[in-house]
Symmetry: C2
Subunit: 435 residues, 2 copies
């Protein structure tokens, strides 16, 4: 049987998983590739570190040059994290004639255009299924399986850490801080979870998916985004009372005059598939104009789900499918003008959930309703509970308002005005509502 | 821009949808294929029939020979239904050098080995995404996206007609016959819905998926199958009371000593994704050893979802991806020995729901429990209601029993023995319970 020599650069959690699939399950990869995928080199920084995998003699090296200089290595799983030296190493590997498989979403979000353009010039390919949604093969599905469609919208839970945290807060009524600590203990959150919980990671993934689905050239940092850091358990409770769960939702919606993108904690109606996505799972709902809605659900991170995506890409590259796709679609190339432009966030239309501390005296609700009305925002429902301990003097009282559809601009201005009312004694919590 | 000439054979519902995607959305297919997909011929039986699509001058023909004899047509969407002449036409087209895209699951289920072996010999390819689960790209997902995995199990709702009927019965408490009539009126069921409702269609799809996922060579008619024809609304009601819905579930499960396959109405716990699949939707849960569970949900039939799958295959074939996959995987070829064998249905283990008409006198439950116990089947729960109208003399009374795990053989024997008890006055309804 023919073989394709493969190298792994970076033997962290995912790298070790990839090595295990290649070493322990060669029959399986051979069956799907019609050839052996032979792990020839695995490049690490520290040769003495304990690894999660047993490598055959001679595979481990701390020199990337061993890969660059070996003309028999054709495909490299480039699994270093961060931007540098990951970017330079990827460029060097491509210059040396290697096709690349990567899981580095931040690198693609920051330097996609440069790397992909260079790859096109060099006749090389870059596969990146593992960069978005881990085990859910959303890249191949959008690029190939749904290629007969104009994608109309994407709605996704793309950050497993955030979803784990929100699910735990929802289920146990715990506060944000203690759930983050628990998530770190269980390995669902990193020591510094900022990129996960502040919406950065989801925005980077959404930028990549928007490029695949809509031909948009989006700088992820331009996507309006709100994270789940600082989410208040009270809001999860009120949402539940209203028949919703709160999820960190990444949304891309093709409107007539451009693409609407956002990442934000969003109230999603209980019983709909996205509301039922628990723990560290990811899910994506794609709406195509021919196929209708297609919903995907799976593990968005973790060693073996991500390794599964990397190895599928290695197989696709070894047999030549990746190269065809790469040549045809020219993703992230500088020579491809964007097919759609981003819409101004102020004009996005949606429903909103507002919670605010309202003075417990006559006229408060009227004043607030007045502000909303002036901005053309109508109220769908209101919750104001009598205090459970019968304390009629509690002041301020939490007031929850669900609106009908309004533009982001109107909602934002109305919120500011409500905050400046004398009968409102603190900031307004404002969340999006799906549907 | 280069072009690939395409023909459609059979301009029924799906064929017309494919023609529309090719004619009205050439920009989109060109973008994904890097070339124009040019609809050169559409072959029909009756030139004078009204069509759901406007074809340019010269495209419509009633002669298959126009396609066979045209060396510039390279890819054919072969969308004739039934076994003959669909089989002969496909062979002729391949002999003439055409690559094939088909949606004909029955043809693959019956003649897959012959057609695929011949295609290999001729250096041609057959793509068949549209043959299973319509708009859900499950063929590509199993064959390519999850190729790093040993698939451990598949659980699917693969027949939209059955799911529509069961969902309606569940929601409105209607009886089978009236819902079938309604489904026919709405176009969800054919005039003769036998293949859909008796489990044949689901078994044929399961046979194809089992080949892709497990390398099994399964004659679909060997798959133990029960349809939803004759499902009693009472059982849907009792299932709901127990916290379940009834779905026509197609299951493939890789056990140590072989592959377990079945198609049967099955109690699925409310709140799990498969239980929430409504109307004519399809869904498939794939469990891979690396990726974990991946869940797919979408429209399993209908003009445009199926056309979406056909056109994705046309694009994959025009760019050469299909040919690589076809050469590599050698699906359905006679030279590929099956990797797993079917397990004896008698040894399948599962939980069961039993409903039976029991005599309303002392000792009945004891006699039934006795039979179950002798077969090693323990009881998980029992429902026997007082009659709602206070009629203590009602006799027989419906008795519902949920069992713990038992083999199919034991459950089947116990059922027969229960039916022969003097205190049981009619047949036992026996349904599978998932999980």
């Amino acid at each position: 049987m023919e073989k394709t020599n493969v190298a792994i650069v970076g033997l962290g959690t995912v790298g070790a998983g990839v090595a295990r699939l290649l070493l322990d399950h060669g029959d399986r990869t051979a069956r799907h590739a019609g050839r052996t995928l032979w792990l020839k080199k695995a490049v690490v920084r520290d040769l003495n570190k304990d690894r999660d995998v047993d490598l055959p003699e001679g595979v481990l090296t701390d020199s990337i040059q061993d890969v660059i200089d070996d003309p028999d290595i054709h495909v490299v799983a480039q699994l270093m994290g961060g931007l540098e030296p990951a970017r330079s190493v990827m460029l060097e590997l491509m210059e040396a004639g290697k096709d690349i498989v990567t899981a580095n979403k931040a690198l693609l979000a920051e330097h996609g255009a440069e790397l992909f353009t260079r790859a096109q010039q060099l006749g090389r390919s870059i596969a990146f299924e593992a960069a978005v949604a881990g085990g859910i093969p959303i890249v191949a599905n959008i690029s190939q399986c749904l290629s007969a469609n104009q994608i109309l919208s994407l709605e996704g839970i793309l950050n497993g850490t955030s979803n784990f945290i929100v699910s735990q807060m929802d289920e146990f009524g715990s506060d944000y801080g203690s759930v983050v600590a628990e998530a770190q203990r269980l390995g669902y959150a990193e020591a510094d979870p900022a990129m996960d919980v502040d919406g950065t990671d989801a925005a980077q993934k959404l930028a990549i998916l928007s490029h695949l689905a809509f031909g948009a050239s989006v700088d992820w940092s331009e996507i309006p985004r709100v994270g789940i850091d600082g989410l208040d358990p009270d809001d999860l409770r009120y949402a539940k009372e209203l028949g919703y769960r709160i999820k960190l939702l990444a949304v891309a919606n093709l409107a007539e005059d451009g693409l609407e993108l956002s990442v934000a904690p969003t109230l999603v109606r209980v019983g709909t598939p996205l509301a039922e996505v628990r723990d560290a799972f990811n899910a994506i709902r794609v709406q195509g104009d021919a196929v209708g809605p297609v919903f995907y659900h799976g593990l968005g991170a973790g060693q073996m789900p991500t390794a599964s995506a990397v190895v599928a890409d290695l197989i696709d590259t070894a047999v030549g499918r990746t190269q065809i796709t790469f040549r045809t679609l020219r993703y992230f190339s500088n020579d491809q003008p964007p097919r759609v432009l981003l819409r101004d966030a102020e004009t996005l239309v949606g429903r909103y959930y507002l919670r605010l501390p309202a003075a417990n005296h006559p006229g408060t609700l009227a004043a607030i309703a007045n502000v909303l009305s002036r901005h053309g925002i109508s109220i769908a429902s209101v919750i104001q509970h009598e205090s459970s301990d019968g304390d009629r003097q509690r002041d301020p009282v939490p007031l929850v308002i669900m609106t009908h559809e309004a533009t982001e601009g109107a909602a934002s201005q109305a919120t500011q005005e409500i905050e400046s009312l004398s009968s409102v004694s603190g900031p307004v919590v404002r969340l999006r509502v799906k549907g």
